[in-house]
Amino acid sequence: MTGAADAAERRIPRPSRGGGAGPGGVVGDGPVAIAMSVLLVTALLAAALVPWWPVYESGAFLVAAVVSVVAGATIGVLGARLRWRAWVVVVAVFAAYVVLGVPVAVPGRAVAGVLPTPAGLVDLLAGAALSWKQLVTIAVPVGSYQALLVPPFLLGLVASTLAMSIALRTRRPAAAVLPPAVVLVAGIALGVVHDDFAIEAGLAFLVSSIGWLVYVAIAQRRRVVTDRTVDAALADVRRVVGASALLAVAMVGATAASVALPMPQRTVVRSELQPPFEPRDHESPLTGFRAAFEPDVARSEMLEVRGLPEGSGIRIATLDSYDGVVYSVGGSDGAAASGQFTRLPYRLDQSTTAGEPVRLEVAVDAYGDVWVPGVGRLEQIAFEGARSAVLTEGFHYNDVTGTAAVADGLQRGDRYVAESVAPLPAADLAELTPGTSVLPAAPELPEELQRLLESWAPVSAEPGARLAAVIEGFHREGYVSHGIGDDEPPSRSGHALDRIAELASARPMVGDGEQYAVAAALLARQIGFPARVVVGYLPAAGAAAAPDGVRVFRSADLQAWIEVQDADGAWVQVDPNPLPRPIPEREPDQPTVVSRPQSALPPPADRTPVEDLAAEPELSPDEPDDDGAWWLEGLLAVLRVTGIAVAVLALFTSPFLAIVVAKLRRRRLRRNAATTVERIEGGWQEFADTAADYGYAITPTATRSEQAATVGGLGPLVLASVVDRAVFAPDGPAEGDDDRVWTTVDELQRRLAEPRTRRERLRAAISLGSLGGYAGSRRGARS
C-alpha cells in the first residue's frame, strides 16, 4: 500500500481557493445572501463598538455608531450591487462623512441638531485628524463634547463600508472580520483602563466572528453542492452546532478565567500618555503651610464660598505621595494609585459615590494657586467671569484624589460654580475597617513614631480602635504652635521625617496642622488604613457663615487634616489637630531608652523630593536584606506578569486549542477503533478531513474515489480503492491492512502540508472545515 502510494504522484495539486467566485462574491448576491451578510457584519461592528461606550456613555454615541454603520453598510451594498469602482466608493464614503458628520459627530455645531454649519464642517474635518489625541487626554465619559465623536463615527463608517465590500465583492469574504477587528482594537486602545464589559465585549465579538466565518464556510460549500437539500442543510446545522460547541467551550473558559484570575489593568493609550497637567511642576500646598500664618497675610480673605455644608471645610488639594521630606499631590506619572489629572469635558458620573450633593459658588479673593478648592467628588464645574474660557480650557481634575487644578492658576476675581458630592459625616473611628486602595509607597516609619503608636494603640486592638486612639492621642497630648509670633513657643516648620520624629518625641508635643496631619497619616498607614493628607480651609472654631450663606476663608484658616479609607471605599475625613490651648513649659530632656538601633533618617532635604520618590520609595536604608527582597519581589512581579500574559494568551487561543484538541481526539478514536475495517474507514476519513481543512471541496455525498479525484494525484486514488475493497469486498481487509492504510494516510497528509507555508498549515489546523458538517454527513451516510 505504502509502496503504491510512494509510486503515486508526489505532488498533490492545490485546490482553487475561493471556488471561482463570480462578481457577486462567494457568499452570493441574492437578497437573502445580502441580508444575511448585512446582519452578520452589522453584528460584528456592533460588538466591535462596545469598548467605545465607556468613553462616551451618551445617547449621542449610540446615534453616531448606528448612523455610521448603517451608512457604511448601505454604501457597501450599493457598491456591490451597482458594481461601483473603488474611487466611487471612496467618494461616497467622503460624502456620507461630510453630510452626516456634523449632526451626528459634532451635534453642538448643527442647527436644530440637523443642519451642519460652516464651523461644524471645519470642526468635523479637523476632528478627523485632531480628535484622536483630544480623546485620550480628556476625562471620560466625554458625551458629545466638541468633535470627540468623530473617531468612532469615522471608524464605523469606513469599517462598515470596507467590511460589506469585502463580504460581498471579494473572493475572501472571511476577511470581513478584519475592519471590525480594527474598530475593536481601536476602541480598546483609546478606551478606558477599567472596562466593566471587557469580557462581554470580547465574547460578543468572538461569537459574531465565528458566526460570520461559519456562514462563509457554509456559503462556500453551497457553491460546490448546489440546490441544497435536507441532508445538506442538516450538515450545515451540524457545522453551526459544532461551532456553537466550540463557542461554549470558549465562553466557559473565558468566564472561568475572568472569575479565577485577577483582572489585569489594561494598558491603553490614555494611561500611557503624558498627562497634560503635571502636578510635579507645582509646589505642594503643604510646603508653604506655615507662610499662611504670617501676621501680614493671616487676615487676608482668600475665598468667599457659598453653599458649603455647615461646619465643613473646603479642600485645596489631596496629598498622597510622601518621600520622607515632602507630602505632595500625586498623579504625575499616571500611576493608578494616585490617579491622573485629565481634562474634564462637561461632567463626571459620581452616581456611585455616597454622599450629599453640594453646589458651591466660589469667588476668589487673595487666593492664588493652581489648585482649585472644592469639596468631595466633583461632578461638574463652570467658571464665570472674564477668564472663564481660559480657566475652562486649562481645568484638570484627578478623580482619584478629588484634586482639581487650572494650569494658569486662580486669580482674584475668578469665580466658579462646582457641583460635587460631599462625603458623609465621619463615622465612629473605632468602627472603621481599612479599605483596599493602594497608595504610593511611603518610607519606613521613624522609630519615634513607632514607639508613639505602640504606646497609644497597642497592636492587639482592632485597626479602627487603634486609629481612634492615635487621633485621641494627638488631641490629648498635642499643642498647636506655628512658631511665628513672639508669643508662640518655637515650632519648627516642615514635615520631613526628622520633624515628624521630633514631634513624636518632644514633650510637650508641639506643631501645627502640617506636622500633625503628616504624622497621623503615617500612623494610619502603619495601622493599615489607606490614608492621605488634605490641605484646605477650615472655618475657625465657632465662626458662623454670614446671613447670606457666604463663608469667608482667611489665610489663617488654612489647615491640614487626613482622610482614611473605610472598607466600603469611602474616604472618611479625620482631623488629628488638637484644639489651640496654652502650651506648658518644655520638659527637660530625658535620656531615651534605646531598645534597638535608631532608624536612619531619610535623605537630606536638598534632594528633590520627587526624585527621591522616583528613586526607591519603598526602600529602607537600614533593611539588612534589601537585596534579597528586591530580587524576590522582582521575580514575583515577573512571574505575575508572565502568568497574566499566559492566561490572557490562553483565553484568546482557547477556541483554537479546542479545535486542535477535538481533531486530535477524533484521530485517536479513528485510529483505535474496534475493528480493522473501522480503523481503515477512519483512516480515509482522517485524510478527507485533512483535505477539507486545506480547502479542498470535499463534498459529503461524494464517493471516496470522487473525493480522491478532488484532491488529485494517484496516491489518494489508490488509498480510496484500498479502503473501498476493505469495506465492500466479501473477504474484507487482511490483517495489517489498517496499519498500512494509516501509514499511507500519514504520508498523504505530509504531502498535503509540504508545499504550504507555515501560516497555511496553521490555518488548516484550526479550520472548522472538517468539523461538524463533513464528519456528520459521513456518519449520516452509514446505513
Binding site: 475495517v677 473501522e678 474507514e681 464517493t703 474515489s705 469495506v727 465492500f728 474484507g732 451516510a781 452509514r782
Partner: protein, 323 residues
C-alpha cells in the same frame, strides 16, 4: 458462487480487448463503447438517442465482429410489419410444407434504426423478442441467437411522424445513452481515413460468442454488499419522491442497475461492487425510466439532470455494514 479476484482480472482484460477493438472503428468513444459492452455482458439492450451519422451502425457491426458474431440492421419505417422483423412462414411448393424464414432479429446484435418510426405493433414485436429472446410464428417458437442484444436508436430532434415508445417498453432497455459527435481530434482522424467506408472496416474477433455467454454468467457472480443494495434502494426511492417526477424508477430499474453495476465492477477488475459503479451507471440505466412532471419539463428539467441531482443528494455508503 462468488467471483474470485482472478476471474475479475481476467474479465477486465477480456473487456478491455473488446473495447479496444471496437474503439479502432468508433474513434474517441470509449465511454459509449464500454457502456454498450456493459449492457451486452449484462444481457441487456441498449437504446441510443442520436442524430443520424454518429456511428450507430458501425458500433453494432464492430461489436458483432469483435465477438465473432452476427449483426443485422433494420431500418424502421411506418409501413414495417412485425413479420419483417421476426420472420415469416412461407409455403415451399417443392417440399410441400411451410418453412420459417428468420427475420433480422436472428442475429447476435440487432441494430433497430429509428425504432420510433415504426408502428406500435411492430415496436411491440421487437420488444417481445428483446424480453423473451424468442420468436413465435404460426405456433412455432424459434429462439434467437445467443448472445443477443438489440441496439435501438431514436432521433431526438425529428419527432414528426414518429410513434413514441411507451414507458413500459422503454423500461425493457437496460440503458439509454447517446454516441454523440466525436471530438476534434477524433474527427481529424476520421477524416484522414475517409477513403475507407466505416462499415468496410473489419474488426478482428477477440472472443468467441460462447465466451461472451460465459463472461455474462461470470458477471452475475460479482459480490454486492448489502450497503450497496441499500444505496440503490435509496436512489430509486429518491426518484419516486422527487417533486419533479410523476413516475419514478421501477423495481425492474433497480434490478437493472445492480445487474449493470456488477458487470461494470468486473470490467474494472473488481469482484465486488462499489458505489462508484452505481453512480457511473445510474444515469444511463435510470434516466429513461423516469416520467417527469410536465411542469418540470416545461421548466427545463431533464431526467438526466434529475438523476444527477439525486446522486448529489443521496450519500453513498462509506462504511461496512455491522455484522
Amino acid at each position: 458462487m462468488t467471483m474470485t479476484p482472478e476471474d475479475a482480472t481476467r474479465f477486465a482484460a477480456n473487456l478491455d480487448r473488446l473495447v479496444g477493438a471496437v474503439e479502432e472503428v468508433l474513434l474517441g468513444k470509449n465511454r459509449v463503447v464500454r457502456l454498450a459492452f456493459t449492457a451486452f455482458l449484462s444481457e441487456g439492450h441498449l437504446l441510443l438517442e442520436d442524430v443520424p451519422g454518429t456511428g450507430k451502425t458501425s458500433l453494432a457491426r464492430a461489436m458483432a465482429q469483435s465477438v465473432d458474431g452476427t449483426s443485422n440492421r433494420v431500418q424502421f419505417t411506418p409501413d414495417l410489419l412485425p413479420g419483417d422483423i421476426t420472420g415469416v412462414t412461407v409455403y415451399d411448393q417443392r417440399a410441400g410444407r411451410f418453412e420459417f424464414h428468420p427475420g433480422p432479429v436472428f442475429a447476435n446484435i440487432v441494430l433497430a434504426d429509428e425504432i420510433n418510426r415504426a408502428s406500435p405493433k411492430t415496436q411491440s414485436a421487437l420488444l417481445e423478442v428483446m424480453e423473451e429472446e424468442q420468436v413465435t410464428v404460426d405456433g412455432q417458437t424459434h429462439r434467437v441467437e445467443r448472445p443477443f442484444m438489440v441496439i435501438a436508436t431514436q432521433n431526438p430532434v425529428e419527432q414528426a411522424g414518429t410513434y413514441r415508445l411507451p414507458e413500459a417498453q422503454l423500461d425493457r432497455f437496460l440503458m439509454r445513452t447517446s454516441i454523440g459527435y466525436p471530438d476534434h481530434a477524433s474527427t481529424i482522424r476520421i477524416l484522414e481515413g475517409a477513403d475507407q467506408r466505416a462499415h468496410e472496416q473489419l474488426v478482428q474477433p477477440q472472443l468467441a460468442a460462447a465466451e461472451i455467454i460465459e463472461m455474462a454468467a461470470l458477471a452475475r457472480t460479482v459480490y454486492v454488499d448489502p450497503t450497496i443494495h441499500d444505496y440503490v434502494s435509496r436512489l430509486v426511492d429518491a426518484t419516486r419522491t422527487a417533486k419533479e417526477v410523476r413516475l419514478g424508477v421501477s423495481v425492474r430499474g433497480a434490478l437493472a442497475l445492480i445487474r449493470a453495476a456488477k458487470t461494470h465492477a468486473a470490467g474494472r477488475g473488481r469482484h465486488y461492487v462499489v458505489p462508484d459503479d452505481v453512480k457511473a451507471l445510474a444515469e444511463p440505466v435510470l434516466a429513461h425510466r423516469l416520467i417527469l412532471d410536465p411542469e418540470a419539463e416545461f421548466d427545463g428539467v431533464t431526467a438526466s439532470n434529475l438523476i444527477a441531482q439525486v446522486l448529489i443528494e443521496t450519500p453513498p455508503p462509506s462504511t461496512r455494514q455491522a455484522v
